[in-house]
């Protein structure tokens, strides 16, 4: 087990290194100097030269990369070229708001998906299974930004019972009922994709396990069906967990569209603003931090999987 963790850790460090390279290289996808897109073409030459030196754009690329990486290790993602504020602080605030959305959405989606997928598999071929298949495929086919708009139309425009946008308060964890009400529509919107994806994978995994011999043996031994479900779910857990890890990452990175619909001041909106302001340090920092989260979540999932299923440790 220790060997497995050490190997996965080394792999993760390599991946994180690659992620930092991609995040850094991102701005150099555009030809020319990153400053050219920020400054007006009529900017005086000496100002451009001074700024180049100030931001370090006059040095060779690998020096720029190493300097940036060094600062990142100190927890410094630079300063926004638009607002002049420190990226790290701003990003942490925005990330907090994204977590307020993503975590309840993940919990709701995963629990709904697991329950419905298991129920469907145990009722294979019956009406319940068919209804679930329709719900699940809708969950993965609906563009979540459209679902958000549709929910706003139904619950905020036609029947004004819930707030249409915003967080209600100053951000962060909801402090009162009104702020919690602002969470409902975006959380439900975000939870649909994980619900569909997890539900489908749980259903097919449980079906596959039920077709093996051991559930029949357990039943023949006289095991009550509730205990049987437990045994089956334990075997279905590793593949479902792997997909849950991926989905949690998608929720963190993919909430950008839902955050736009609900005007939610999270990391997605933060990044969107950075794109339109051509704010490179912010864009770079957000991409790096979100991708690193994704990588670390996947590492944790791998370890949990190996804890549940010894066969994976090989």
């Amino acid at each position: 087990m220790t060997q497995f963790i050490v190997l996965r850790l080394l792999h993760t460090i390599l991946i994180l290194f690659g992620v930092s390279l991609v995040a850094f290289a991102l701005i150099h996808l555009i030809p020319g100097n990153p400053l050219d897109i920020l400054l007006p073409p009529e900017a005086p030459k000496e100002v451009v030269e001074r700024l180049k030196v100030e931001f370090g754009f006059d040095k060779p690329l690998y020096i720029q990369y190493l300097a940036w990486l060094g600062r990142v290790f100190e927890g410094n993602l630079g300063t926004s070229v638009f607002t002049g504020l420190r990226v790290t602080n701003e990003l942490l605030n925005a990330l907090g708001n994204t977590f307020v959305l993503a975590i309840p959405a993940a919990l709701l989606g995963f629990s709904l998906g697991t329950t419905l997928g298991t129920l469907a598999a145990f009722n294979h071929g019956r009406l319940l299974d068919k209804i679930f298949s329709v719900i699940a495929i809708l969950g993965i086919s609906l563009p979540h930004y459209w679902l958000g708009i549709a929910l706003v139309i139904v619950f905020a425009v036609l029947n004004p019972v819930l707030p249409a946008a915003g967080m209600g308060g100053g951000g962060g964890f909801p402090a009162n009922w009104d702020e919690a009400r602002h969470l409902i529509l975006p959380v439900v919107t975000l939870s649909m994709i994980p619900m569909g994806v997890i539900g489908r994978i749980v259903r097919s995994t449980v079906l596959e396990i039920l077709s093996q011999e051991f559930p029949t043996a357990l039943r023949a031994k006289g095991l009550r069906s509730r205990r049987l479900v437990w045994h089956v779910l334990k075997n279905a857990a590793p593949p479902a967990l792997a997909v849950m890890g991926l989905q949690l990452g998608f929720l963190l990175g993919g909430s950008i569209l839902v955050e736009t619909v609900f005007n939610w001041p999270g990391s997605g909106q933060f990044m969107n603003l950075a794109i339109f302001r051509r704010d490179i340090p912010v864009l770079q920092g957000t991409v790096l931090v979100l991708a690193s989260f994704f990588v670390i979540i996947n590492l944790l999932v791998d370890v949990v999987q190996a804890l549940i299923d010894p066969r994976i440790r090989r």
Partner: protein, 301 residues
């Protein structure tokens, strides 16, 4: 000569349908013919594609011509049966023309990614350890980015536009295709018939062409079809954010964003472009499911 032709019926093998071994693809076609859901879905998709191709004939108005006099008319207005948008342009005509850009931006990246990713995955699957390591580790790095994040970041840097949307989505979809193809290839490579071909002296390129590719292609096809659904949602999403197709071109995601301001005036019309996206992505998902069960394919996770 006459004797030979007279004797032929006697030596002709029995070619009646029951005796002939059925090929894999005819079994697949047979199963698809009996799968009503997949047939219906295929029909709907065909309609969507035909409407997009023949948009100039299917449209009732000029998709770019608006009028201040008829802004945001509701569904069912005479002459504008799906209503009009915020600048008075006919929704039906814009949806039909919008299908062109939405389908192109949704399907092209997956096609390109299947070509590139499929080739790389094949090379990684049959190549040596070093080649496999290099390709798969680079793939791992791109896998570390959530797909939406990567697409938005690339598009955000290189700018809006159809070409850039296709490029960024292609980069997003290549790594998963490489992974699926690589593991499919690795599975097929160790099967007995490949060993037999090698033992009988078949050259590597012939084994790849006759043994490996035909057995990998089905899985890739099923996987790529399921990606088209995500690709259509994502490309419309990029336009929705203002990073994809640029106005005034009609495109579903862009229309959805523009009409978002109108949800308090005319909610039903505002939701219509999304319905077009839902129908198309749902059909591609169902098509992928139908193909998967008809071809009896289990994809590596």
């Amino acid at each position: 000569m006459a004797d030979v032709s007279a004797a032929q019926p006697l030596i002709r093998p029995d070619t009646s349908a029951s005796a002939e071994p059925r090929s894999y693809w005819s079994t697949v076609a047979e199963r698809l013919m009996h799968d009503r859901v997949t047939l219906a879905v295929g029909g709907v998709l065909l309609c969507v594609i035909l409407l997009a191709i023949f948009a100039p004939w299917a449209a009732t108005h000029d998709p770019l011509q608006g009028s201040v006099l008829r802004r945001l008319k509701p569904v069912g207005t005479p002459g504008f049966f799906l209503g009009t948008d915020e600048t008075g342009r006919d929704i039906w005509s814009r949806l039909v023309f919008g299908g062109r850009l939405s389908l192109i931006c949704g399907i092209t990246p997956v096609l390109l990614a299947t070509l590139i990713g499929g080739t790389l995955g094949l090379i990684a699957g049959i190549g040596g350890r070093l080649i496999n390591m290099t390709i798969m580790r680079v793939t791992d790095v791109f896998f570390a980015f959530p797909s939406v994040l990567l697409a938005i970041a690339i598009c955000g840097v290189i700018g809006a536009g159809i070409g850039n949307t296709i490029l960024s989505l292609m980069i997003v979809f290549t790594p998963p295709i490489v992974r699926v193809t690589e593991s499919l290839t690795a599975q097929v490579k160790n099967r007995d018939f490949v060993e037999a071909a090698r033992a009988s002296g078949a050259p590597v390129h012939a084994i790849i062409r006759h043994q490996i590719v035909p057995n990998v292609l089905g899985g890739m096809l099923v996987y790529s079809t399921s990606l088209v659904s995500i690709s259509i949602i994502l490309s419309a999403g990029l336009s929705f954010l203002g990073l994809g197709v640029t106005p005034p071109n009609p495109e579903w995601g862009l229309m959805l964003n523009a009409l978002r301001q109108a949800i308090f005036v005319n909610p039903i019309v505002a939701a219509l472009p999304g319905v077009a996206i839902v129908i198309t992505s749902l059909c591609f998902n169902l098509l992928s499911d139908g193909l998967r069960s008809a071809m009896d394919i289990k994809l590596p996770s």
